[in-house]
Symmetry: C3
């Protein structure tokens, strides 16, 4: 089975660690004197392989980083820096482009302005696909570089441990709404147990679907200072995302937010009380090209040498995925706490390790199968994603992409677009076989268990009527609620 | 002598077969398990060579296909995806660009929006030049891939034969007017004896100059169903292009079209009577970027699974040069009759074989000389091509390109632009030495035989007068008509 | 110490000769039969290295030339043909881009529309940086190719000599104002002692700062025919730039221009009297994209076969950096005096030799240090360059680039922008420590000698007042003028 990297979720924790160990090895063997973060020279490992970049959005940094990684591995590159002005201009779909390019290359790196585009590419080729950014959705290789940077700094304290950031406090700054790098990152931080302080500019908070996914998928919870007033110092941040330790106890997490504190282990509570300083800043550029709704960040304070004089920040290392504009001052460029250029340098060994893994140059690094976390609902009729930036909403792609949703919760029934992660609560359930709908939403389970393809969901009654379905008459059947015992296979 | 591929005509039939056999060999040795059409790995054959792409029109697919082929051969690539925004924007001509780039590379691949541009490039460099599409004119490497795809399917029936498609029926669909891939293809199909059914969308018929060339160069004739009404089934297509077998009997082919049937051999007539099904569809995209004159194809039926339920099409394999828009449904993507993704895959081994041939990595594949089919007329004064898309009509190129025409017929005198293949019937003949013109058009032959450079042709009297020529007074000399006994050497 | 090539001044004369000898060697070993100027094949010398192009302005020729050179050396390339549409569009500065890309590559080639941009890049990376053109400023690798072409022609006469063009007459034609290739070239010609005849189109004379630098840095003087009327033939050109031989006698050169003749050695005077013909034309394109002020060159005569019938030009070799438009006729393309395509071909071996030198593949070619010619003045306050095209004037770069000036003369005090070479005569001197200014400009020297960082210069009093400085009261101190005895170290 070919493995791709569309979302940071596509890699198990131990796979991420295996990739990082391979990156360590490349650095050990290839870094230059005085620059332990920078790879030099060329291997012959990937001599027989070609990497193709397909960039529908222009990018210098990310594209060159992949190309350098492939060349340093000894491979070759074919590159398309502006697909939009060629194939796409002639109306070619992502599926067709990737099914042609799979004949020219051995691994494909795609950047696209539509959310979920990399998933579509991965669905239609048997080559490994690497998502180099899909709209405001994810940018998982940036996240790998970010995690590797955190780990490199963290290793200094905690040697030879499995990858974990459970004692690490990271403050995310700036535009948390539009920056795809932030979205991929927070999921990973939650997985590895870091404490996350969201410090967004006005109008640039984390999107709701990201917050929902943090809670639902990782059990990451928002702790508000006001709720633990007696326990917190003045210094304690207004908001912290924390992930309770221990087994995955989802059923417990439906209570009030005031309960968050009590879901944490005693050890976690103690460490939070002692939390005096921030270990990392993660600053991001204001993604003006994605802003439709203000949120300019003009009043938002830049990170600079003066800010780092605050006692909470004296030891804070500063990360930034670059490019920066005004949110990060040049006066930290020579400061050892500014690790953002190292972070950029790590892009090469980390991407080398990723490419080598996906091309199976070191065959045992990645497992041969991926289990789906949630059951899948998919039907050409019925519910469609309403996110205007989702790839499934683009006229060209909608001709062949069938909507797919993960069933992420049952009470209330909640589904998540497989492509862009937007979540929905359908209110109407119907059957393809009978075209009779009902608002008895709990009936979905019975239909799904018998024949998943017969199930049709709608957001509301009007949609069902517009699609020619009719209200089902007759007695309401009582439906028992049955928890999802284990994940169902994906199609 | 350096060989180039500007037109599919630049390759003899046996050279095409030799290239295909080399492509077979690459596939035999380099294809992966389960994907016999897809090349993997890298050779070292072309280790010392650099291929340069010069794309004046953007393209992802074709450019990447060439780059992959060169890399798979072990060579290297320098690439210019958008020449128009750099050199050409500064006013550089094709001749200058290619004379500079010949110092940087060993083979040049050019795509350009003007018809004949690749010929100009080939005229001004001693490197092999490959035409990757020149306006609406030709796209000969696509044709090679098309022929290779046809041959791969055909081989299943007829092993080890010389390349021939004389029992093959192919239906061309869609935009036959603007698609350069179709133009290159029909010439090749005629050469190899296929039956061609033109099934164009309204307003998108084959251009007249293509039809003329089909008849003149290959003896390919249009058979109309209405003319053989008694012989044809209801199923018989309205129009079929057929190429009579046997020796090249041009003098016979001046009669009425009703005679076509009787120019065919008895065997051909019998096989046409038995023709019940179409072997191949060749679908093409509506080239909206070249349409000036309607012909949108909006009402034209797409090829889809439903159409292939028609008994004539049940065995029909579907080809498409891609990209597609609406003219070919996604519902055939998994159908074994849809061979268009294989066709795209063949692009790599076929282009590898072509590049290897032109670089003489296998020296005996191509012959060292090409004979011209027709005598050449060329004069800086006099007749100019009137095709607004011809490279000779572009202000920048017209500064140095001297018009050239093949003399393709004598009665009436007919010449064909060497660059774009448009044909003209000059009505006025004059001499550079005397500047005296006459309408006694047959005199051209005598002047040409004595001194080809003295001959000046005009389309009409006004052009001659505008150029300062005067009507020649005196007795009309009788001029005997003498057939062209054999081709004259090109300049 | 990493060496870069930002200006042709960055190479000593003997380093230029060493690079040329290496280029000779590449040609000796790699040129093909019949094409002694054209490199073929690939070495493995640079097998472990990656070259990155960063082109903020589109270019086909120059970019492909570098890429070919790197590939012929056996290296690999990552290429960004249009940085402006990606990183720069997001607001990234040159300093940040180059500090990221230094992790991906081993040598960087940059082209930019702003003057001094390559210097900024070199300031912010520890990789070698090659300037492939920065606005209208310099294009030093073109100059290397030009010098190599001159040398190749000159060698035929004068074997095994050190590089010198002291008996060579070169006539520069066309747009001497906007063509950066000309600016880099005239400095080099002056260094190597050539006679330069400026034959510019109306409105396209050499810029003042170039003329000033010619005189100041190289002692190159303008000799006017009218001033030596008795000595000159009618044929003698109206203007010639000549560089007096012998020791650098700057103090002598402050007299009237009529004295120029008498600054020349007797031998030089004699040879000027005998000068009957021009050895080289150097033609340039009218840089319409940089014209703001007329100077179209439409009336300016093109170099063509007819012009070369003039007896002064019968032996004249014609050079052109290409691309050409109308200033050089196609009728010289086959003429052995037209060496412009050879000049383009030399781009590959010369750039190969340059890259190999900068990557230290032949370690002893370049020296390990560069002495500054002039002392440096640099202060974040005070004088700023007023050239609107200077990189220091661009809002994005001005956030971090501190103005720097070479102190090129003392009487009057004259400084030259390190980035774009524009020169200024500050009239006000102040101190950062006291913020008291004075018009006693000679005081700069005393402040500078004590603490270079305390010195603040202004062009005029208003600038000082606007910056909050106050007029210093008290007695004028007499200040002695002391010549700069030796160059001061750069920061």
């Amino acid at each position: 089975m070919t493995r791709s990297l569309v979302s940071i979720e596509d890699l198990h924790n131990d796979e991420i660690e295996a990739i990082f160990e391979l990156a360590d090895r490349f650095l050990d063997e290839m870094a230059t004197t005085g620059k332990p973060h920078r790879v030099r020279g060329r291997r012959t490992l990937a001599r027989d392989f070609i990497l193709s970049t397909l960039f529908y959005e222009p990018s210098t940094r990310t594209r060159l980083s992949f190309e350098s990684a492939m060349l340093r591995l000894g491979g070759q590159v074919i590159s398309s820096a502006e697909v939009t002005s060629s194939s796409a201009a002639k109306g070619e779909t992502i599926a067709d482009t990737v099914r042609v390019v799979e004949n020219y290359a051995d691994v494909v790196v795609i950047r696209h302005s539509h959310e979920g585009a990399a998933q579509v590419a991965a669905d239609y080729t048997d080559l490994p696909v690497i998502n180099a950014g899909d709209g405001g959705h994810e940018h998982p290789t940036q996240t790998l570089c970010d995690l590797y940077t955190l780990r490199a700094a963290h290793r200094q304290k905690q040697k030879n441990a499995d990858l974990s950031f459970k004692d690490v406090t990271i403050e995310l700054r700036g535009d948390l709404k539009h920056g795809r790098t932030v979205h991929s990152l927070v999921y990973a931080l939650a997985r590895f147990g870091a404490r996350i302080i969201p410090s967004h500019a006005p109008g640039c908070d984390l999107p709701d679907h990201v917050k929902q996914r943090l809670a639902r998928d990782y059990g990451c919870l928002l702790l508000r200072k006001q709720e633990i007033q007696d326990l917190a110092d003045d210094d304690f941040p207004e908001f912290v995302y924390v992930t309770p330790e221990g087994p995955h106890q989802r059923t417990l997490w439906t209570g009030e937010e005031a309960d968050v504190w009590f879901k944490l282990s005693l050890d976690q509570r103690q460490k939070l009380r002692e939390m005096k300083s921030v270990d990392f800043f993660y600053a991001t550029r204001f993604q003006k090209e994605r802003h439709e709704d203000g949120g300019s960040g003009e009043e938002y304070p830049a990170i600079d040498a003066a800010m780092l004089k605050n006692k909470r920040y004296r030891q804070t290392k500063v990360m930034h995925p670059l490019p920066r504009v005004d949110e990060l001052s040049y006066d930290l460029d020579e400061d050892p706490r500014g690790v953002y250029f190292k972070q950029a340098a790590y892009g090469v060994p980390v991407r080398m390790a990723l490419i080598a893994s996906l091309l199976e140059l070191f065959p045992s690094l990645l497992s041969q199968s991926r289990e789906a976390r949630y059951p899948l609902y998919s039907n050409a009729q019925g519910l469609r994603c309403t996110n205007g930036k989702c790839v499934t909403r683009q006229a060209n792609e909608a001709r062949y992409v069938i909507p797919k949703f993960w069933i992420v919760d049952e009470t209330p029934l909640t589904v998540r677009c497989v492509y862009c992660d937007f979540e929905y609560e359908p209110r109407i359930v119907s059957r393809g076989s009978t075209k009779k709908y009902t608002a008895e939403i709990d009936e979905w389970r019975e239909i799904y268990d018998r024949s998943p393809r017969d199930l049709i969901l709608y957001l509301n009654e009007q949609e069902a009527i517009d699609a020619g379905h009719q209200l089902r008459r007759g007695r309401k059947r009582p439906t028992g609620h049955r928890p999802l015992s284990e994940p169902l296979a994906t199609t």
